[in-house]
Symmetry: C3
Subunit: 268 residues, 3 copies
């Protein structure tokens, strides 16, 4: 099926219904700043969070989970071992997994780990423009991070990562971009308040892992981003600031319905 | 004194008053997902949280705390050492302690730890039906986890754990059950929104540790569950979803009064 | 310039404007209970949080950050290494850093670490009365913690710490006190609800690190405490309890304006 905005919108609504119906088990190996928010976002979505990130448990769990998130925000030594274990087990078992290379570029521990994990072929990579450009550089050896990276430069980097076998790549920003190296779509939903809440991007990675258990990685990425950003738009309508926005966002994600999602989705 | 629903209700109100008056110091060795929510729940209850979970400090603190919570949600190697230290010191000092065997059954690290800690005779064990059945199996060697475990099967497991010296056992579910192996009570308060907020069960374990410093383990368990679930019912009345419910729950716990607690308590 | 209440108020408003304009990068090595709240507080303030607390990364980052917070709430072995690395690098690079000696006194691991870090001359030390008195004792060898410590005894301890080269010292309490060992000011803003939210004090340490990148340590401390406590007063007006207060506090910090800050500031 050709991917048109129309049928991607339909797929998004169907994928959301599938997540609601199946309550996919999402394993998160993520940073200490956002674990609570991430788990609450998954519960509000209708998925089942499980923060199993111990060596000796993470690999076993990655075989039974519907999807796995590996987020490099605060990767302690023990969590790094668990991440390697989970990524390898997910790859073996065919469990889709999402890599979120938080703040890579100049920070050496996570940058090396991102390179290592990328070699295991994540199903989806999610990051902001700087992270995606840094990941592209780490792959070929040398390009640094630039806080002023344009989205278009990041899109070129995303396409390169995808073509080298790095899975579907999603770049978060004012407009979100999803590419598999061949096709590239732009997603227009969202609200800037999402950037004022810590974990706004990190929790999206977990939502992508939830959808990846229900759909192909490209459709899953489009659907996850659109559902997430539509909920943000609804929440922003009643928010008095980032505190009340975060609360309303959880409520909006839990209260979403198919008609609203279809009506609000902006995919091009 | 015979435990009738009437005098357990009276004891619940009195125990709640004692917590408010004494502000018991509750040491929590708990998972990274719920630390913040747990601390805020304890503060709203009127207790004093202290997340002291380092080897070299945890044992000392368990001797001076009013109650200790050991929750196996994300037990890193360092935290596991601290948990052993705290459980042993609590047992030595006579400090009541609560074991929450999160997600035990198939996950090997935490299941082995739960077995080891159970041998130190926790004052109270709290878990959902699957966890209690798994803990019963771990004690005798072999029974696995089943996500479809009925509450009644869990009650039988809870009675066995209690009779083997595993303390008072509380099973969380649509109806909560507390048993000391001889007497068993069923508690009817609560709201399903509590299952949509991460840490809804984990924070209850901390509240049980707070009450255990004020009352015998059986009464403390009944009182903690009833107070917690009455606050959930009050919060659900004004919540628009799980996000606003979590906020209203903290407010309701902080704003609770004895008359409301007595009027709403459902103990049978 | 002499520090009068009038010109400290003016400096506070200007420092707040500078934080808003420059969005300082604040590195936090802090405890697992409050990371999420701390990051959201920094975002609401207008600063940029970065929870970089790994050995091998923390020192590098401390050289590029505008300010660093080292909070001893749950210092794992790995985080303790990162804290030493960050403090040394901050000292070398001239990056201002804030030490928050959480719960020191009787707990041996953190008390020894606080003593070691104090020897590296933190730019600012922030604590409650007991912590400041304990830190003073640790410096000269012997004085213990007393939960009934008066603010005035803590002020004397704060002056001694500052004179021994421990930087500017801030004592949190019903009235906040800031001293550099020569001048001492008292700050009258705030609301008791702030003590009912976990991380109320810890997140203030991060806000002080944000201001320390914009102003001298004394002015930065006064400005940070005043901004923080004015936001608490505004939040308290609409809060129904500690849960809704925490949400409203983030909104109030994000929505603050210079005229309100100037009108409400109580500096003496």
């Amino acid at each position: 099926m050709t991917r048109t905005p129309e049928n991607l919108t339909t797929s998004t609504v169907e994928a959301w219904g599938a997540v609601r119906a199946h309550r996919p088990l999402v394993q998160c190996l993520t940073n200490t700043v956002v674990t609570n928010f991430t788990a609450n976002v998954l519960l509000a979505l209708g998925a089942t969070p499980a923060m199993v990130d111990l060596p000796g448990e993470a690999g076993w769990f990655a075989q039974v989970a519907s999807g796995v998130l590996i987020n490099l925000g605060t990767p302690t030594q023990e969590q790094r071992s668990a991440m390697r274990e989970a990524a390898a087990a997910a790859a073996d078992a065919g469990t889709p997994w999402v890599l979120d290379p938080v703040a890579i570029g100049a920070l050496p521990v996570r940058t090396a780990l991102a390179k290592e994990l990328t070699a295991l072929h994540p199903t989806i990579v999610r990051g902001n423009a700087s992270e995606i450009i840094a990941l592209d550089g780490a792959g070929v050896g040398g390009r640094g991070v630039d806080a002023t990276d344009s989205v278009e430069e990041a899109v070129a980097a995303a396409v390169r990562i995808a073509r080298r076998g790095g899975g579907v790549v999603a770049v978060s920003g004012p407009t979100d971009v999803v590419t598999d190296g061949v096709e590239t779509v732009r997603l227009g939903n969202g609200d800037t308040l999402l950037t004022r809440v810590t974990g706004g991007g990190c929790a999206l990675g977990a939502v992508m892992a939830a959808f990846a258990g229900e759909e192909d990685p490209f459709t899953a990425s489009v659907a996850a981003i659109t559902v997430y950003n539509v909920a943000a738009e609804i929440a922003a309508q009643s928010a008095a600031g980032p505190g009340s926005f975060a609360v309303a966002f959880i409520d909006a994600l839990a209260g979403l319905d198919a008609a609203t999602l279809r009506r609000r989705a902006v995919i091009s």
